[in-house]
Symmetry: C3
Subunit: 109 residues, 3 copies
């Protein structure tokens, strides 16, 4: 048995929880903020049999993989002569930090 | 030293924290939602000496064991001809998912 | 790779997160309440290479070490004849409980 601590973006958390649950894996969501991947992260606790660890890792990779996105930055404060035309900016979204630890003992009560 | 991650029902969390604290065990409550045992769960972090692991496991078993309960389901929206008589429904309450991991190093600062 | 669970006082959490981040360590803040060090604690998840574990432990020790502080207790409800003069009380602040666990597998996605 392994216990996975997956720190993912809030944006990806719901899809990841749904996908893992659909596939029969137990997931617990812990509230999280900041750090590893800046603000807006969620830490998930996932218990998994050793033989299925790769399956879970693949799902996390699939849902959370780093990809390009485009955002329109908020308009800045302008001086009297300026006109602000928001320029969409390409950003990197997704990404996850995953720690797997060995479980000594597991009980379902 | 062992570190226990116990995912328990919100309903059982307070009693479990109180019982463990009374018995001298250190418990930290992490906010949790959903997954292993559906919504409304709390994850507890419990540090314990190896020799006392069974004591803690017994306390968790005792407080959180699965048992039958009865709830009155909320009344549904009724049509013009219907009268709703709530029927108490037997449900299973309690239950816990417990992961124990080995502690490499422990420091109290 | 090691995974550190550090339970620290809320008062020390921000400084600890900032110091660790400045030094290049990844920290994730989990919401926490009570237990190990009474109410008002924060649990931090810190991933660190084995060789740098002592560096992180030293930072935690430095920021969170137990020290003396002084607080003015809130005024009690008084009878008709009483005048309440708040007396500053010396208290112990700081302190941390730190668990280090071995990481089986680590992935940055
Ligand atoms: Ni990010
Ligand atoms: Ni349940
Ligand atoms: Ni304290």
């Amino acid at each position: 048995m392994k216990l996975i601590f997956a720190i993912v973006h809030d944006d990806d958390a719901i899809e990841l929880v749904n996908t893992l649950t659909d596939e029969g894996f137990g997931v617990t969501k812990l509230a999280t903020t900041g750090g590893f991947l800046k603000a807006g992260n969620t830490t998930l606790l996932i218990g998994v049999e050793k033989e299925k660890l790769d399956d879970v890792m693949n799902i996390i990779q699939d849902v959370c993989k780093t990809r390009k996105g485009v955002i329109s930055p908020p308009s800045p404060v302008l001086g009297a002569t300026g006109v602000y035309i928001p320029t969409p900016v390409e950003v990197t979204i997704g990404g996850a930090t995953v720690f797997v630890v060995d479980v000594d003992r597991f009980e379902k009560i």
